[in-house]
């Protein structure tokens, strides 16, 4: 399976080198591409000096625009799988082989979850996460412990959807839409690290707005989207496990 790791980066000069170094040590044989989302700092220079593969967006498109750029690259270069990977060192590269294992079993999306075997802590942000989980559960019947996790691996037909369709975001509401259309989703336990430096796309102030937008989108908007039903391509996945 040819895997592309997509690393969106916006002003990550402080940690990008360390993160890519760590990534190269852990998975030296995996293709990756950095999508520089119009950073105003040294992100592009550092990557070019080190010879890392990088696509430079001339303007800031936001996480969705940057990620879709990577998906288009994956689509045009006929990759079989694509993984969204944070440039700030939160995602563990060591788990990548396990993601691939489940994708090979026939799952369409594998999500790296913090809360499959671990318990969810109680905090305001986790309350938001719970509300999104609940919205996905009542609209799709699928229980996701960590819907906002950004570490997701997609198979070939998901890459095609992301590269060619409108309104495809690397966000929980799009995942719920894809589940409704028949995509098979698997959550696996990963341990996320604290970010090395810089600030997240989601500041605490914005997370409330984010939570509201995603929940309304899942409950009211996503169900009215069109799109043909996806059928499982491999039968090796146990459908029963899917609904648990």
């Amino acid at each position: 399976m040819r895997l592309l790791v997509i690393i969106p980066a916006f002003n990550e000069a402080e940690c990008i080198d360390q993160v890519i170094n760590q990534f190269l040590i852990t998975c030296p044989d995996v293709d990756f591409i950095i999508i520089n989302d119009g950073s105003s700092d040294d992100t592009a220079n550092i990557c070019q000096r080190k010879g890392y593969p990088i696509l430079n967006l001339p303007v800031n498109l936001g996480l969705t625009g940057a990620f879709i750029t990577g998906m288009k690259y994956a689509y045009l270069n006929h990759y079989d799988a694509a993984l969204q990977f944070d440039a700030d060192g939160q995602h563990p590269a060591a788990s990548i082989s396990e993601f691939e294992k489940y994708l090979n079993q026939g799952y369409d999306i594998v999500i790296g979850s913090r809360f499959v075997t671990e318990k969810k802590p109680r905090s305001l942000r986790m309350l938001g996460s719970n509300i999104i989980s609940w919205a996905i559960l009542i609209t799709t019947g699928k229980r996701l412990g960590d819907p906002t996790s950004g570490m997701r691996m997609y198979n070939k037909r998901m890459i095609r959807e992301y590269a060619t369709q409108m309104n495809m975001d690397p966000e929980p509401d799009t995942v719920s839409y894809l589940i409704k259309r028949g995509a098979l989703v698997k959550e696996i336990q990963v341990s996320m690290q604290d970010r090395i430096a810089g600030s997240s796309y989601l500041t605490t102030v914005k997370s409330l707005i984010y939570m509201t937008r995603v929940t309304i989108s899942i409950l009211l908007v996503q169900r009215f989207r069109g799109g043909n039903q996806l059928h499982p391509e491999h039968i090796s996945v146990d459908r029963k496990e899917q609904t648990i």
Partner: protein
């Protein structure tokens, strides 16, 4: 509020909802924008079903007619939305200009290299 106004509001709100649902299906509307219009038309539907909400607030604020309060609120929300759209438009114009310039520079580079 008269029954005619309630009916008018209700039909208007339902039509707004239908309009954006059709546009999402046709893949011409981005969801982030659809959400505002969902809210807006839901709000109108609720007001047309329970106009006492409007009556209560118009008495509280001393507005003579509930319909006037509805107009003021609607205009206010739409002005805010228009302003937000203007902000977005400015940012889009800037991005479009940057993209066109980058594209021209790239073409110039490529042309010079080819010769």
């Amino acid at each position: 509020m008269t029954l005619a106004l309630r009916l008018f509001l209700f039909i208007g709100a339902v039509l707004t909802l239908l309009l954006f649902l059709v546009q999402i299906r046709k893949k011409r509307l981005k969801i982030q924008y659809a959400i505002f219009w969902t809210f807006f038309s839901f709000f109108l539907v609720i007001l047309s079903i329970f106009p006492t909400i409007l009556v209560f607030f118009s008495k509280l604020l001393g507005v003579q007619s509930p319909a006037n309060l509805l107009f003021v609120l609607t205009i206010f929300v739409l002005v805010l939305k228009l302003f937000q759209d203007t902000l977005k438009l400015s940012s889009l114009e800037h991005k479009l200009m940057t993209l066109a310039q980058e594209f021209a520079l790239l073409k110039y580079d490529k042309h010079n290299r080819d010769e």
